[in-house]
């Protein structure tokens, strides 16, 4: 993820899998499209560059969560499109729950701090 983002990197690293799996749950996408979609959906707070995106995608592919296949993009150029596998879908549900619980806890903490 980009060094210029506003959230510290350990948190972003932990949430990176969730971000990628979530945008791939919408539709198959190629690497650049995944990064662009995440940037748009998070208002630029979470952003991936080449150095962070591809090692993550390859790790997820090795674990069988996503599958990459070469297809022709609308531009006519061959791109590697990533799809969520059934294993990836199974992984996404608990990941979403974990992060929702984590952010709820942080929200409660923030409200206590504000009070």
């Amino acid at each position: 993820m980009g060094a210029d983002s506003k959230v510290s990197s350990p948190i972003k690293r932990g949430s990176a899998q969730l971000a990628v799996l979530t945008v791939l749950a919408e539709a198959p996408r190629h690497g650049y499209d995944i990064a662009k979609r995440i940037r748009q959906q998070t208002g630029g707070v979470v952003s991936f560059d080449v150095a962070s995106l591809y090692p993550l995608l390859y790790t997820m592919e090795r674990r069988g969560w996503v599958k990459g296949t070469w297809e022709q993009a609308p531009s006519g150029r061959e791109r590697r499109y990533y799809r969520l596998t059934p294993e990836g879908r199974r992984r996404l549900q608990p990941l979403r729950r974990e992060w929702r619980t984590f952010f709820r806890a942080l929200n409660r903490l923030a409200r206590l701090a504000d009070a």
Binding site: Y32, V50, A51, Y54, L57, R62, K67, W70
Partner: protein, 218 residues
């Protein structure tokens, strides 16, 4: 516009992946950078190339990260150990078969030495398994340069044989083992280690993930 594929290929050139897999990675990263560059140009960026390249501050580190992600460190190590055991087993069986056929004298000498040795019975097998792992490790180290396959495996096996033969030659020159025995052992060891290395490398390749498609040579 820069030739992104050439640029990425040059900068990620030392990545230790299969040639096809490396071409896939290079094509994918180059396409990403090209799209980024085109978007920056369209947005009127003053330095689209600089901004695009700023995404990768350290190409060597990226290469290492990609390699680790693709291979999986444990996966690679386990494969080297298991296929090294295959190499050692094939080599020792073949060498013993050849020795029992043509080098009976040496075989009996070795057997007598083993009986009088204070080393445990399994030490010989352990040595050969360890040597097999070394051959496989050597094979994986030289594979990116020479390509996967029989020739590279044979080269790795041959290298181990040279080291073993030089050691035996040294012992022979000191009179520890008779010259004839050294010659028979060296002659039996050559096919044994070459065939063993080829067998181990075959298993290593058989357990390799394959790239999602074959790209035409860049």
């Amino acid at each position: 516009m820069p030739d992104w594929e050439e640029l990425v290929g040059r900068r990620l050139g030392r990545m230790k992946l299969e040639p096809e897999e490396r071409r896939e990675v290079v094509a994918e990263v180059a396409a990403h950078l090209e799209e980024c560059y085109q978007e920056l140009c369209a947005a009127g960026s003053p330095d689209p190339e600089g901004y695009t390249l700023a995404q990768v501050p350290d190409w060597k580190a990226l290469g290492r990260k990609i390699q680790r992600s693709k291979e999986g460190l444990m996966n690679q190590t386990i494969r080297i150990v298991l296929c090294g055991l295959v190499t050692g087993a094939v080599a020792v069986l073949l060498a013993l078969s050849v020795l029992s056929l043509v080098g009976l004298e040496l075989y009996l000498t070795l057997e007598a030495a083993r009986l009088s040795s204070t080393l445990p019975r399994w030490s010989g097998a352990a040595f050969h398994n360890l040597a097999g792992m070394c051959v496989l490790w050597l094979y994986t180290a030289i594979r990116p340069r020479y390509g996967p396959g029989t020739k590279t495996a044979a080269l790795a096996g041959f290298t181990l044989w040279v080291i073993a033969a030089l050691t035996l030659a040294h012992w022979s020159s000191m009179g520890v083992i008779p010259r004839n025995s050294f010659l028979v052992a060296a002659a039996a060891g050559l096919p044994a280690w070459v065939v063993g290395a080829v067998a181990g490398a075959w298993f290593f390749e058989a357990t390799e993930r394959k790239p999602s498609r074959e790209l035409k040579a860049a």
